[in-house]
């Protein structure tokens, strides 16, 4: 039995858990190919025109898998904690796919609504295992292994690495520290993000992403807004930004967003206004399937140059 896992959306946030779980259940796991022009084009063909890039991409990745696996894993991410849900497009994802992709008959739709309870997560795993006729103990074992694998993954982030990009550690001596905020499926997909993070590191900066900030630290900024945002990933991004702004531990913030992203117009504007109030350098990069390398390079170089100059002026004033 072969399970296909689309390499986008939930993948970048939770793949160690998902992959390990299916493998330990004794199933063969096939991850779709890394995002490429073909995959994007395949997605654009079937997805509704005004959907954001990640949703179009998901269609492409599903089509990449459809004919070579027994089941395509399509999560319906509803909630992982008690305070928020995911973006409406995540909630409606399997329904969208069922109506947009012709001949999609082998969708393994899994509704994930765990509200932060370990028990619910296990029950969900048990249900999935049951579909493949795997017993309680196999399921429990796979679930345990998956949790360990996920824990290991989050620890790598906390130690300054970016595992999905194969970055194990960054140079501590970098002169500029950059906060790069955005959703995992935008930041860690090298094709969609046009390798933005590696480019920044190549320019000699130290990059901090939301996953590299411990959960307890982010939680401290939960009360910053009068009303908590409705979306899990957005809360993580916004709280990370507040952490950067309040502690001043970075020289500037770059927000990476998808063109037309629904939740992000709120998140982006709040961060922009807050950054302006505190005089923090702030740059928004909106990406879609047409964004070009050169334009992005120019903007990133200009931003980093500006931060370097700012730093020099500051240092000169201190002397």
């Amino acid at each position: 039995m072969k399970i296909g896992i689309p390499r986008t959306l939930a993948y970048y946030a939770y793949y160690p858990f998902i992959n390990t779980f299916f493998e330990k259940l004794g199933l063969e796991v096939a991850v779709s190919d890394p995002t490429s022009k073909e995959i994007v084009d395949a997605g654009v063909e079937d997805a509704v025109a005004d959907a954001c890039v990640p949703i179009k991409l998901f269609h492409g990745h599903v089509k990449n898998l459809i004919n070579r696996v027994d089941y395509v894993f399509v999560p319906r991410l509803v909630s992982v904690n008690r305070e928020a849900t995911f973006c409406p497009k995540f909630l409606g994802l399997p329904d969208m796919l069922a109506c947009s992709i012709p001949n999609l008959n082998n969708m393994l739709e899994v509704r994930i609504d765990i509200r932060g309870k370990k028990r619910e997560l296990f029950l969900t795993c048990l249900r999935v295992a049951g579909k493949f006729k795997k017993g309680f103990f196999t399921a429990y074992n796979a679930y345990r292994k998956a949790l360990i694998s996920f824990k290991d993954y989050t620890n790598q982030f906390l130690q300054g690495g970016i595992p999905p990009l194969g970055i194990m550690a960054q140079k501590k001596s970098a002169d500029i520290k950059l906060g790069v905020v955005g959703y995992p499926y935008m930041l860690y997909d090298p094709y969609v993000s046009l390798d933005l993070i590696k480019k920044l590191i190549g320019m000699g900066t130290y990059v901090v992403t939301p996953e590299m900030v411990p959960e307890e630290v982010k939680q401290k900024y939960a009360g910053k807004l009068r009303k908590t945002l409705f979306w899990t990933f957005s809360n993580s991004v916004l709280r990370t930004a507040f952490h950067f702004l309040e502690t001043g531990c970075v020289d500037g913030i770059i927000h990476v967003t998808a063109f037309g992203c629904g939740p992000d117009f709120i998140v982006d504007k709040i961060m922009e206004l807050e950054a302006r109030e505190r005089n923090m350098a702030y740059l928004t990069i909106a990406l879609d399937e047409h964004t070009g390398q050169e334009g992005l390079n120019t903007r990133l170089e200009a931003f980093v140059d500006m931060l370097r100059r700012k730093r020099k002026v500051k240092e000169a004033a201190m002397l």
Binding site: A47, V48, D50, A51, I55, R76, V78, A84, T85, F86, C87, P88, K89, L91, G92, P94, D95, M96, A98, C99, S100, R111, L225, R226, K227, L229, F230, W231, F259, G260, C261, G262, P263, D264, F265, I266, D268, K269, I270, L273, R276
Partner: protein, 378 residues
């Protein structure tokens, strides 16, 4: 005394003014959104904000310029982003230097205490329980009457012999309702409205029927949807929309308070295609489209603001649903760039298609053939 203002929403604007006055506030009446309103909103709103966000932001700026010191709007529980609009509106307006208080009326089901606190802020006069009852009854009746007058106008416009007569009658009715001061007035006006519409000379035809579904603000507010219902009526089409303010308020405030799911049928109908509540009116759009199809409508138009997330989900589901039920589908995305003439062209083409389809169906039926083929309005 507080100087209260609020977003413009069709005829309900007048009703809300009466309510605010009855509670002892001064009101800065929001103006009907114009192109200037929209360009003000577009100037200060983020690029990907949806059309309602921009229109409302523009309306707020105009109201603040006219001297309002309190803005009242509704909240929401998500995951549709509209529930967070007041938070962001407030932040943007404050960053522009305006000084005011933002009062957000959250749905009572989950924020009852907040709602009561917000309402307390808006009561600037000593009122007895009987007063509250009187005000409540009046406002509710007025909202229902407004909806009734509008529904009748949609029904009669495609049948009118003299062009423009229905629109004139409707405006007259709206004015009558706006002038009402007591519940008794409203009861009398109700009879008068029926009479006025009866007087219109009507053709005896069976017009093309189109259902309108989509996001609530652009469905309800004609300034946002470029008066699409009037446009359809003038083309001889009976257009019926899925949402009216009074019933919407009822379902989402009262039913929610008692934890009863609103619009149960619609959700049930949508569930084979759309299994999850995803906020906004995405699922209702799908459910209502099916309801229209079952009632024998010829087609469905979906109105959605550009980048509206729940409607994007619905939009990828609706073509299949409409094809299965054999009715036409036309998605209309609205933003500050949408022009009325472009929309009219698309709507006219859609109506022509539906008429052709109906004719074909009739001919085939005459020959005893099976009706086949579906139409999706792209």
């Amino acid at each position: 005394m507080r100087k209260v203002s609020y977003p413009y929403l069709g005829n309900a604007t007048i009703t809300f003014q009466k309510l605010m006055k009855a509670l002892g506030n001064d009101v800065v009446l929001p103006k009907r959104p114009t192109e200037e309103t929209l360009s003000l909103g577009t100037k200060y709103a983020p690029e990907f904000a949806c059309l309602p966000f921009k229109i409302v932001l523009g309306t707020y700026i105009e109201a603040l310029e006219a001297g309002a010191d309190t803005l009242v709007s509704t909240g929401g529980v998500g995951p549709c982003r509209a529930g967070l609009y007041t938070t962001l509106h407030e932040k943007i307006l404050k960053s522009l230097g305006y000084d005011f208080e933002m009062i957000t009326l959250e749905p009572p089901g989950r924020h009852l205490r907040d709602l009561i606190a917000s309402i307390k802020k808006l009561v600037s006069k000593k009122l007895s329980i009987a007063d509250y009852f009187r005000i409540g009854r009046f406002v509710w009746k007025e909202l229902q009457l407004l909806d009734k007058a509008e529904k009748l106008s949609h029904k009669i416009r495609p049948l009118e012999v003299k062009k423009g007569e229905t629109t004139r009658t409707y405006k007259k009715c709206a004015e009558l309702i706006a002038q009402a001061q007591s519940y008794r007035d409203l009861v009398e006006i109700e009879r008068e409205i029926e009479l006025l519409y009866e007087k219109i000379e009507k053709k005896d035809i069976d017009p093309i029927k189109i259902g309108i579904v989509g996001e609530i603000y652009v469905v309800i507010e004609p300034a946002a949807n470029l008066e699409i219902e009037e446009m359809l009526g003038d083309l001889g089409v009976y257009a019926e929309r899925s949402m009216f303010l009074a019933s919407y308020t009822f379902y989402n405030a009262v039913m929610d308070l008692f934890r009863m799911p609103g619009e149960r049928d619609v959700k049930k109908l949508a569930s084979p295609y759309f299994k999850e509540m995803c906020g906004g009116h995405g699922r209702e759009s799908v459910g209502n489209a099916i309801l229209f199809a079952k009632r024998g409508f010829d087609g469905v138009i979906q109105l959605s603001p550009f980048t509206c997330i729940p409607e994007i989900v619905a939009k990828s589901i609706l073509p299949k649903v409409c094809a299965e039920y054999g009715i036409g589908f036309l998605p209309v995305t609205l933003d500050e760039q949408t022009g009325k003439e472009g929309l009219r062209t698309r709507v006219e083409a859609f109506v022509d298609l539906l008429a052709a389809k109906r004719k074909k169906k009739k001919m085939n039926l005459g020959k005893g053939d099976v009706v086949y083929g579906t139409l999706s309005g792209y």
